[in-house]
Symmetry: C2
Subunit: 345 residues, 2 copies
């Protein structure tokens, strides 16, 4: 079975490239609202579920014990650009846990933006694990390990208590059983389990509404949701889709990207959870898919409309900043979205 083409990239009047994908949208009762493509196929969620992976940190009381503030909780859910504020916040999280950066087991990574690369070079530095886009998540893992009284070394390994806690949360929220045969190593060295999009959509409907969650978990989800939407810059950074969308929608939506074209979201006012993957792993397409979903399902004010106009049809430009084409949803995809939205709202 082929997933449908959902996004196309044009140049002049010609479609130059095509992106296929699958999308699951579920309500807070755990019922599907829209399924496009094969949403039962196992997909590695990668960084799109960092907010779920942060639940044990808050539920356990570790976040409070370590005095992590909302911006730091947002960083624990982030895939950040490695900008100065991100790096500093990750460092502070480690200090609060009595640790230093050499405790991080995610590996080093250059910052995303050339401006930040240039700053590092001018300072005579090379990137360290704090610059890794996952450093906030890892700092949170280390904080949890500390409060659990578990060893901090080896916190990325599948049988470490931190990873076991996370696995248990994911099994409950997705309804899936996470076995070694569906386990891969994520780019930052932690285990990642391939689960159907249906499961992640269900999980994010619960994350955004608190429905069907035990009180402690519902409260942890609410705190992480608030932390992310109130500190959108910490979740991604300058010019990033997640930051622009969450800042622009002012608490109405939570969105989080993951590597290889995954995107998850929660829309509490509609009770919806969303999970999607672009087949080929392209973020440019997963972003347009997510923006198109937000546009179809949400009642928009003018500022939100203007933002989504940008995010649903980003321009392809030449090196001289001349528009050469556009990345856009296909008309069949838009038709499917509008039909589902009109039924569900």
């Amino acid at each position: 079975m082929s997933n449908p083409v959902l996004v196309e990239v044009t140049r002049g009047d010609v479609v130059e490239s095509r992106h296929r994908g699958a999308i699951a949208i579920f309500d807070a009762n755990g019922a599907p609202v829209l399924r496009i493509g094969d949403t039962g196929r196992r997909v590695f969620p990668r960084s799109a579920i960092k907010a779920l992976q942060a639940l044990p940190l808050v539920e356990s009381g570790a976040a409070d014990a370590l005095d992590y503030d909302a911006a730091e909780l947002a960083l624990a859910c982030s895939s950040h650009n490695g900008e100065e504020r991100h790096v500093n916040a990750a460092r502070v999280m480690l200090i609060k846990a009595g640790l230093e950066e050499d405790a991080l087991e995610c590996g080093p990574q250059w910052p995303s933006r050339v401006e930040d690369v240039a700053d590092l070079v001018r300072a005579g530095e090379t990137p360290c694990a704090l610059h890794n886009n996952c450093s906030g998540k890892h700092a949170g893992f280390l904080g949890l390990a500390k409060v659990l009284g578990a060893p901090t070394r080896g916190y990325v390994l599948p049988d470490h208590p931190v990873q076991q806690e996370i696995k248990a949360v994911l099994e409950t929220l997705t309804g899936d059983t996470l076995t070694p045969d569906i386990c891969g190593i994520d780019g930052c060295a932690i285990p990642t389990f391939a689960t159907p999009l249906d499961g992640f959509a269900r999980a994010f409907a619960a994350f955004g509404t608190g429905e069907n969650l035990e009180p402690l978990r519902a409260e942890a989800a609410r705190r992480l949701y608030d932390a992310c939407v109130d500190n959108a810059y910490m979740v991604a950074g300058t010019d990033r889709f997640c930051t622009r969308a969450m800042a622009g929608f002012r608490r109405r939506v939570f969105v989080k990207t993951g590597a290889e074209g995954v995107f998850c979201a929660a829309i509490p006012e509609l009770g919806l959870g969303i999970a999607l993957k672009c087949d080929d792993g392209a973020s440019r397409a997963s972003e347009v898919m997510m923006a198109s979903i937000l546009e179809a399902f949400l009642d928009l004010n003018d500022a939100e409309k203007a933002l989504l106009e940008d995010l649903t049809q980003p321009a392809i430009k030449t090196r001289l900043d001349v528009k050469a084409g556009v990345i856009r949803p296909t008309s069949d995809f838009l038709t499917d979205l509008r039909r589902a939205a009109s039924v569900s709202i």
Copy 2:
């Protein structure tokens, strides 16, 4: 019609992402040897046909009039990393034409490699048009404009004599008629025409063998072929697929990548021309497609085998350089390739 999945990306034991594509392989008589997917669909060739776009520079005598050496001809066919040797060679090409870098109309671009970005920053510089991966091609265009007696300003525009010369060459070699409705603006500001892969495969079979070309053009093709395969570093740069493949095959193959997942090649000893596009525009997949074709069709020595083992199955690694998965051809794709190769050789 869906193009087939030709390349898959794994993580652990799970296929994480999938890339579809179309491939045309033609012989020097202009007959198809293998067609996979819709090879009649129009595709922007982007930088994959820079060697064809350089034919007028050589045919016209401009390259000799300006004393361009083989390394400079290779740079005229290149999508380079913006490393120091590339930038210097582009500057020399301009000087030989009596021009300076402000004549370039391709726009600035940071070098591809972070090492070269760091060198620029340490020197207190920002990138200029010489660092643009297309600067060699543009320097060649400017050289041709000079020798033709055409204005150098506006050499990127569709009705400029340089672009008209190139269009005429492409129409002859591909058998296509290049009309404004199939014209887009390339990332470096020049016109790019969408033509079926069949046409490009035919063109590269002629480019690599000289067959069915008038003597002057056959001689120009031979010089450009030799320039590229003898100066593989100038065509791309450190760690790049084109450079590794051409250096490793020592004159046996010409390969050239283009943006949005296009790849073209010529294998003179077999009389073959190859053109392919990954539907979604991913280079990681177009590279594996090309490497798999070379592996299927060529008789390989041990060094070539070792090189292709790397290029057909590049590893997906964590930030700590641990192998997490692989990019590889699908088994159906390999079967198709081997069947076609066994018939044609």
